[in-house]
Amino acid sequence: MTTNKLVERHTITALVQDKPGVLNRVTSMFRRRGFNISSLAVGHSEIPHLSRMTFVVEGGDQILDQVTKHLHKLIDVIKVTDVSSENAVARELALIRVKTSTQTRSEIMQIVNLFRANIIDVAPDTLIVEVVGDENKIEALQNLLERFGIQEIMRTGTIAMRRGMGPDNTSDNSRPKQTPVVYETGSV
């Protein structure tokens, strides 16, 4: 699950028509062109009939450039924004089902508190932990809980938003060059 190599990643959001088949068009384009998505999240936007998708795409600047342009080319995609820069916040939600016993329960609760995560379900021999954060935080918690025995993990995929009133980095053909953001996955 966790990799230790450096993967260059970019987070982009797309405002799309909320119509049947749009997700299919987008994923079909990614598949056909061989772009790798490491996460994808979709939900309604603030505008009626429009949804917003957040993609985390693996690859360097050239890939990002092509992904952005090919997304734009889809008729149902209205706006594409690069939110990879430090000027953005990115969050993901995960549910983790962990094995517990009377011996381990308090230790798990301590870890959960440290991560400002929540326990949302308690059963005799398992707990469900809910954690919100960026990818690194979720993977860090996951690594710590690993030794108790993780039974199941559900992750929503990253969603991201630009901070404050920062300049909108909506893609067009004069898009300024971005410094690539390098995430070190798997580090705690």
């Binding site: 068009r25 050239q62 342009k69 149902d76």
Partner: protein, 564 residues
């Protein structure tokens, strides 16, 4: 006004200026067909196979610049269109395809003749629609034509369930279009224009690489002005052939895998490539790491995703070519580039296309050269895919603009029959010659019936070498002459075949009969098939093997040591 869905489709097509539809009926599209007699403005040409309808619409669109229309029924009718749709997509040809679909209640139930044609065509259309109410039809048809024929053109498919054709709703053709996600950039960025102008000014060995975009944007005059004003030699891509007159002094051929050696060498020696509406296809670049390393590149295209896709570009300009060039031309100053133009002449003399008349036997290129002379380079040439296609592009002198109609990106054999049908319908006053391979011809020859039925006078020159020539050539070059499954032993008698369809057939087996046969075919009013029995073992030269560089150029063996 109240109308049923079928009537709405026809009324909307008339609003879009459609005058001809290529199609074949079936259960799901029948309600649409039954409304056709109410709309005499729409000429329907009944094809024999739906692939023919899609290719014919494509051929029509290429020669007229207006979207071609094809329609077919659900299931197999729709899937038979797929090759034609993919062909239009690869070559950016505007076609609008309408398919019948099973009734709304049956959708998703694996009903008889149901297939998910919008799903199937998702990656091979510019956009597609599944229309779920009759009310939507006018808007969808308007959007379909707009999307197909603006920006970078391409195919749009509209899938309509059977009961939507019979549903009655209010018909009003919309005046405007609301597509917030589709706004092609038409006007160029002024800063980039300045940089491009500067580069053209500085260049000592500039070439223009003119692609299909010149034809699609009808930027012929602007291209001519740029070339003549700054004295820049014009090389075209294969799809760009006939975007610039072949008899012009600045015309410098077409490069690539089977292009003219001197054109490939000129690209290699150039210090500036001005790429106009082209996509740096692998058949031109070979290995992109070694392609034209000495040159800076200006890439003008309406599709931003083409820029930087295959090769690195120094100045990208997004916009409609006609607009961009008219702006660019204002800033470009007059130059002479005499040394460079002389250098290209030297390359041309040292690496010419070889004489088409050097063999005793009957060669394809000789026939093509004779057709070129007989038509003064003014015919519309439609080809299939393979050796004959390469020789047609090499040896026909395209003096008329927009006169090569060929499946270049997709490389769809069989295009030559329905493609020619569509081209002749689009240009009824032109002479249309279909240069056909015996392989491709047999894929779609059923459309001869359509030609005869509709008195469409296409002249076919079958380059009959009794084999799949280009595949056989690859076997010769790369598989030790091991001719697996490429030689035919049971071709039909094409002359008798033509006669059975009710058209004139002529057989030519000897060089001396070629000219007379061409003349006879052209004198005849209706469609004619000339079966040219040509040598089987001819190979197309020059050749740059796939994925390699100009260093691997193979020129005609008989000339090796003389000109290399």
């Amino acid at each position: 006004m109240k109308m049923n869905g079928g009537q709405m489709v026809c009324a909307s097509l008339i609003e879009e200026g459609v005058d001809v539809i290529f199609g074949l009926p079936g259960g799901a599209i029948l309600p649409l067909y039954q409304t056709l007699p109410e709309f005499p403005e729409l000429r329907h040409i009944l094809v024999r196979h739906e692939q023919g309808a899609a290719h014919a619409a494509d051929g029509y669109a290429r020669v007229t610049g207006r979207p071609g229309v094809a329609w077919a029924t659900s299931g197999p009718g729709a899937t038979n269109l797929v090759t034609g749709i993919a062909t239009a997509q690869m070559d950016s040809v505007p076609i609008v395809v309408i398919t019948g679909q099973v009734g709304r209640a049956a959708l998703g139930s694996d009903a008889f003749q149901e297939c998910d044609i919008t799903g199937i065509t998702l990656p091979i259309t510019k956009h597609n629609y599944l229309v779920m109410t009759a009310e939507e039809i006018p808007r969808v048809i308007k959007e379909a034509f707009h999307i197909a024929n603006t920006g970078r053109p391409g195919p749009v498919l509209v899938d309509i369930p059977k009961d939507v054709f019979t549903e009655i709703a209010n018909y009003k053709y919309p005046e405007s279009i609301d597509l917030p996600g589709y706004k092609p950039t038409l006007k160029p960025h002024s800063g980039q224009i300045k940089r491009a102008t500067q580069m053209i000014e500085e260049a000592e060995r500039p070439v223009i690489l003119a692609g299909h975009g010149v034809i699609l944007s009808k930027a012929y005059e602007e291209l001519m002005e740029l070339a003549e004003k700054a004295q820049i030699p014009v090389i075209t891509t294969l799809l760009g052939v006939s975007s610039f007159p072949a008899d012009h002094i600045l015309y410098s051929g077409w490069p690539g895998m089977h292009g003219m050696a001197y054109s490939s060498l000129a690209l290699e020696e150039a210090d500036l490539i001005i790429a106009l509406g082209c996509r740096f296809d692998d058949r031109i670049t070979g290995d992109t790491r070694t392609f034209a390393r000495k040159s800076r590149k200006i890439h003008i295209d309406i599709d931003p995703s083409e820029i930087g896709k295959n090769v690195k570009v120094d100045v990208p300009i997004v916009g409609d070519l006609k607009n961009v060039l008219s702006v660019l031309n204002k800033g470009v100053s007059e130059k002479s580039n005499v040394d460079w133009i002389n250098r290209i002449s030297v390359l041309r003399n040292e690496h010419p296309l070889t004489n088409a008349d050097q063999s005793e036997g009957l060669e394809m290129r000789y026939i093509i050269q004779e057709i070129s002379e007989e038509t003064n380079g003014n015919a519309v040439i439609v080809t299939g895919v393979g050796q004959h296609q390469m020789w047609a592009a090499q040896y026909y002198t395209f003096n008329q603009l927009c006169s090569l109609v060929s499946s270049c990106g997709s490389g769809a054999m069989g295009y030559e029959v329905p493609g020619a049908l569509g081209a002749q319908v689009g240009r009824p006053d032109s002479v249309v010659w279909s240069i056909a391979g015996d392989g491709g011809f047999q894929m779609t020859m059923v459309e001869l019936a359509t030609l005869v039925e509709n008195k469409i006078p296409v002249k076919f020159a079958i380059m009959n070498n009794n084999c799949l020539g280009m595949v056989r050539q690859w076997q010769d070059f790369f598989y030790d002459h091991d001719h697996v499954a490429t030689l035919y032993s049971g071709n039909p008698d094409f002359v008798k075949l033509a006669e059975s369809f009710g058209m004139m057939g002529i057989r030519v087996t000897d060089k001396t009969q070629v000219r007379a046969a061409i003349e006879k075919a052209m004198r005849h009013d209706g469609p004619v098939l000339v079966d040219f029995i040509v040598q089987q073992d001819d190979n197309v030269y020059p050749m740059i093997p796939a994925g390699t560089s100009i260093d691997n150029l193979i020129e005609e063996p008989s000339l090796e040591g003389v000109n290399l």
